[in-house]
């Protein structure tokens, strides 16, 4: 057991709004950890704080034992933490291929080509459209591209903010297969998902956020059968 990512007493504020009110997270290497919570609970704020995209924060974030609370985002990426952002954030005027290449920016290893082929193998649609402008892809195609771009960074920890957003039912399943596959390669995933039942069923550990606080945590499968969770997040009475 090795704690690869640790968040301690994290607070995030936007002006007068306290979005995160002091939370602790612990992510073990090679595990899939999920964060669930209602709209506005602070899930994206947490991921963005880890990436230091959100800088108005207090507390401590460490990666492999090193303090990265104030590390620049591009350095964090270089060190192996990559985010699939909420709402895709594709570069609309760049081609699909260029968008993918941006994901490998700063990498110097010899495996870029391997990862490129891996991404095209996962998403044949992306392979067909390498020359198309990113902005003209359909919503789901853009989501595939955003996931592919993150994989091009060959991350040790993949942070995913609602990766199933806008994907057809069959593809949602496929994305969870991809997540499980990268897990078997020893990678770590911190996942935010609205598709809570799918996420919990697949995760090793999960946290439930409510208005900036963690109100519950435990094994994914335990939370899946928790009555309160079933009612509040799975829409099951």
């Amino acid at each position: 057991m090795y704690e690869i990512l640790k968040v301690e007493s994290l607070k995030v504020h936007y002006g007068a709004i306290n979005a995160i009110k002091g939370i602790d997270l612990s992510v073990e290497k090679g595990k899939l950890v999920t964060l669930i919570g209602a709209n506005g609970a602070g899930k994206s704020s947490t991921l963005n704080a880890i990436m230091n995209i959100v800088t108005s924060k207090k507390g401590k974030i460490s990666y492999k034992g090193k303090d990265i609370t104030k590390t620049r985002t591009d350095e964090i990426v270089k060190n192996g933490i990559v985010l699939v952002p909420e709402g895709r954030k594709i570069f609309p005027n760049l081609t699909v291929q260029e968008n993918l290449m941006i994901g490998s920016f700063g990498r110097k290893d010899a495996d870029i080509k391997r990862d490129f082929d891996l991404v095209l193998g996962l998403f044949p649609r992306i392979k067909e459209r390498l020359k198309q402008a990113g902005g003209t892809l359909s919503g789901g195609e853009q989501q595939m591209l955003a996931i592919g771009r993150a994989l091009m960074g060959n991350p040790e920890i993949l942070l995913m903010d609602e990766p199933s957003l806008g994907l057809a039912p069959l593809l949602v399943k496929m994305v969870f297969d991809v997540i499980n596959k990268i897990k078997t390669e020893g990678k770590t995933i911190l996942l935010v998902e609205q598709n809570a039942s799918m996420a919990l069923a697949n995760s090793d550990y999960a946290y439930v956020l409510e208005t900036g606080k963690i109100v519950l945590e435990g094994n994914g499968k335990d939370l899946l059968v928790n009555a309160g969770i079933r009612h509040a997040y799975l829409g099951i009475n």
Binding site: Y14, I17, I36, A38, N39, G40, A41, S44, E86, G87, R88, R125, T136, L137, S138, G139, G140, E141, Q142, Q143, M144, E162, L165, G166, L167, A168, P169, L170, L171, V172, K173, Q194, N195, A196, S197, H231, A232, Y233, L234, G235, I236
Partner: protein, 282 residues
């Protein structure tokens, strides 16, 4: 029994992007007061159909008739003014404006309704006499030629819309400060501000958990009744679609592969194979 009144008719629509036929000989009708769904795999052509209905794309072939008027190739603003409003799959709000201001921008489009009225009047003066169409804001202007008052009325109406979507508490927030799920609801409120008869929603439940999409489903039903709307929606949340839609069209590679009520569509082998997989949706 009253005959169903057809409000939208798409006839043999085709659109090509270079070598790709994104929509292929697609026909669809929607009756007044109906709630119709459009589903299918990623890249099937659903959003493209919305872009054609709203005038963003001109089809390569085919014709679209709305309330008896041929709207094929009309400008988006005009189409909006004659009664079709939409939300976008990739949220398009004015991120630096407040929530309230975003709605008031929508109202502004409604403000310039005169243009639409003239268009319809020229099209069919008998059916659209100038006296007939006097939306609330128009009359508000006529009654109170005082801008402060007009703004007050606009604000009140905007607040009312926020209330309908349960967004009041966010009124003064910048749109970009809203959590994703709330931004989706704001898009609906803004579309409503243009006073549509046909509302088309591109993935309204995306980014919502099942509990939240259930709440959204209720508010859509409510606005539909309150504003006498006809609704066409795209959604990948199958529980949502199967619960709310009366009729569903299924698209794959730009072609219609199935059409019918939720039960029929759900049990259609072609739909299961191309889109649904073996999951069961209530």
């Amino acid at each position: 029994m009253k005959m169903a009144e057809n409000i939208l008719d798409m006839d043999k629509i085709t659109i090509k992007f270079g070598g790709l036929t994104a929509v292929d000989d697609f026909s669809m009708y929607i009756n007044k007061g109906e709630l119709v769904g459009l589903i299918g795999p990623n890249g099937a052509g659903k959003t493209t159909i919305f872009n054609i209905i709203t005038g963003i794309y001109k089809p390569t072939a085919g014709k679209i008739v709305f309330k008896g008027i041929d709207i094929t190739g009309l400008k988006p603003q005009l189409i909006n003014q004659i009664g079709i409003a939409r939300t976008f799959q990739n949220i398009r709000l004015f991120s630096d404006m407040t929530v309230l201001e975003n709605i008031m921008v929508g109202q502004h489009s409604y403000f310039t309704n005169r243009k639409a009225l003239n268009f319809l009047h020229t099209h069919d003066p008998k059916k659209y006499p100038k006296s007939l169409w006097r939306p609330w804001l128009f009359s508000a202007i006529l009654k109170t030629p005082d801008y402060v008052k007009i703004e007050k009325v606009m604000k009140a109406k905007a607040f009312d819309l926020l209330g309908k979507m349960e967004l009041q508490k966010y009124a003064d927030f910048k749109a970009s400060a809203l959590p994703y799920g709330q931004q989706r609801k704001l898009e609906i409120a803004r579309a409503l501000a243009t006073n549509p008869t046909l509302l088309i929603l591109d993935e309204p439940a995306a980014g919502m958990n099942p509990q939240e999409s259930q709440v959204l489903l209720e508010s859509i039903r409510k606005i539909m009744k309150d504003f006498s709307l006809t609704i066409l929606l795209i959604e990948h949340d199958m529980k949502f679609v199967m619960n709310i839609c009366e009729r569903i069209y299924v698209l794959d590679y730009g072609k219609l592969i199935s059409h019918g009520n939720p039960e029929a569509v759900q049990n259609d082998k072609k739909v299961i194979e191309a889109y649904l997989g073996d999951e069961v949706y209530v």
